[in-house]
Amino acid sequence: VIGVEIPYWGQTLLRTLGVTVAVLIPAGTAVYVYLFKMVSFMQSRLGPMEAGPYGSMQLFAEVGKFLQKEDLAPERADRFIFRAAPIVVLVTVFLVYVAVPFGPSAVFANYDTGIFFALAVTSLSVLGILMAGWSSANKYSLMGGLRAAGQLIAYELPMVLAVIGVVIQAGTLNMQGIVAAQKNGEIFGWGGLGNPYLLTQFVGFVIFMIASQAELTQTPFDMPVAESELVAGYLTEYSGFRFLIFFIAEFASAGAFAALASTLFLGGWALPGLPLDASYMNVVGPIVLFTKMMVVMFVIFWVRFTYPRFREDQLQRFAWKYLVPLALANIMATAVLKVVF
């Protein structure tokens, strides 16, 4: 696209830089705009105001604080696994962004089965969380880790089933293909908006958002870190920069799920009225996708700061008795309509 041959090591460097930016920018923006500011406004206060104009530098202050702290590990902890766990969680977030397209050729790896890959790596984060819970040598951590495992497995299913509806309608597992299908789609013969699957797969979108809320262990589903029951769940023994990595991973994965939701249901980097294959879309596309991600993240955090926590049994019942049947019915309906139209 650029017309310059970049050596392999240069490409690797650029990709590393790109994915780091893609992970950190949405995560940092979400922490400042939603975690610091929006929740404060919901509680009728202003939030951080001192570090930088309107507290915009607060994030750097927080990071600096975490980096100063001692990197502790409990005496009886399984040191190697304890130290590796946050890295595993963060790496899974990076891997999700690998498959998400930002523009016609601005994609780290254009897999034929991109959405399959993305959903597969999101479920890897449970491994890191279980590692953290198990190796901490702490009953609260273990309980938190097990709760996280049970919850993430329970909600993985409705999420995948919700995505199947989109895949049936788009007819492809390729993320670029899903974006193109929404851009070129028509609703009852009218193609002015394309066919963002938010409209035709609304049930799937709602299931996907609920399931990703649970996958992110955001508040109505935050039993794994329920502070009033489990201290901080699998995070209890972490401090310093390892806690910071968990913290970044939490918000970066919120960004990753928002990116998936925007790509699957909101049309991804494409906008009605903009061409699908112009090379300037490689610059405009990321901005469009970022905007859509921010809207989705607003919903995620809005829900997070509105509701109290589910009970563990309510959580499981909600997943298995309501979401999974609803998702299956959605697949059936989508399949029937796909044949009819």
Partner: protein, 167 residues
Amino acid sequence: MAKVVPGVLKGLGVTLREITKTVTPRRFGGGPATVQYPHEKEAPPIRARGVIALHQGNCTVCMLCARSCPDWCIYIEGHKEKAPPRRPGGKPRNVNILDRFDIDYALCMYCGICVEVCPFDALFWSPEYEYSEPSIAELLHDKEKLTEWMETVPEAPELEAGADKKK
């Protein structure tokens, strides 16, 4: 399920309304419930229990306040002196001179019993609240400092109609 959904949406409405209220400027009736403290200050109510001020001239070293203090945070020392008689030919009077009157605000729990119990109106509440110190020992206010607080004591409110006047 059908019963749950309206309540769930109502909850989202509550938080969204609160956001709009907080970001609306104060002059349009919005704004946060909090105050950006060091930059803007809330005026405390006139009878706020901020700090206790001492009117030295009224104190007779009777020790009632020190004895009634639940935290034992008032330290009083005094001595007796002979004062000239009130009318010529009389006996010289005994007067109590206040040597030390300290309140340790690190201990004080702002119950106000000392102010209530003082029979000679020597102790007053002042709404002043900004006297934090970097060192805990400096929270012990001596009688000079307690006297300085007298300037911040608000005027006593008007008595109600028909109330007993103090003689």
